[in-house]
């Protein structure tokens, strides 16, 4: 098990409601993009804040790139008061996204998510169409640079699945 699947398994085992998004999700759909972090869109509910903080506590989550002397505790209160968190953990760099550009929050993104099996566990992964929409909406050069590849994959997959 690699560090990404280990982190995902931890979240799943702790009952965290989330959808995989970002570069890792793009990779699962067939992109050649290589990413060093894991992006998830998490459900913003009190019970999920609890599950998330319990799941991540053993991995010592801290604010990525922040000086060591800045106090930070990822608990239910912190999660309820913020929206997006860019974290460093003992396993992986992890981005917790409460709202995805162009899509919305967990209920909207889970609606069109697909189920993908990794290491015997089925995870919800943002659909290719949702990833394209979010990249376009984000509009940053790094997002826009991914668009031609994702759109071509979508077209290739449609052609492949088309019955003659």
């Amino acid at each position: 098990m690699n560090k990404f699947t280990a982190a995902l398994k931890r979240l799943s085992d702790s009952g965290v409601n989330f959808v995989l998004i970002g570069g890792y999700a793009a990779r699962l759909h067939g992109s050649a993009y290589v990413t060093q972090d894991l992006d998830i869109c998490y459900e913003r509910s009190v019970s999920n804040f609890r599950s998330l903080s319990v799941a991540l506590a053993p991995l010592h989550p801290r604010l990525r790139g922040a000086p060591d002397n800045i106090p930070f505790v990822l608990d239910e209160k912190t999660l309820s008061q913020g929206m997006n968190f860019t974290l460093e953990t003992d396993l992986v760099d992890l981005d917790l996204i409460g709202e995805v550009s162009g899509i919305g929050q967990f209920p909207q993104i889970v609606d069109t998510a697909v189920s993908i099996e990794l290491g015997g566990i089925n995870y919800k992964v943002a659909s290719l169409e949702a990833l394209i929409r979010s990249k376009r909406a984000a509009g940053r050069p790094k997002d826009l640079n991914l668009l031609p590849e994702l759109e071509a994959i979508e077209e290739l997959a449609k052609i492949r699945d088309k019955k003659d």
Partner: protein, 93 residues
Amino acid sequence: MRANRSKALKTIAYDAAVRYNRELMTREEQVRLYNLVQNPPPGSKIEAAKNFGIDLTLNLRLLSLTPAERAEEMQCALDFITELEHAGRHPRK
């Protein structure tokens, strides 16, 4: 009747899920997509990606793998990058 229809729908959904998780292409599909990547239809997204500089043969290969295999390949690439970084920091004399 309704039970049969429900069973049929479940079977279709199951087949789609299995296909999604395996994503293994038939030889025929591979040839068709390879030809498309080599000679993309004018105005297509495939053509746009090619003109943008994307090597879609990489994506074709990845599409013939399962999502888990795609993730595993990325991990290998990251491990290699880490090794290179380490070697760069600790060059041999």
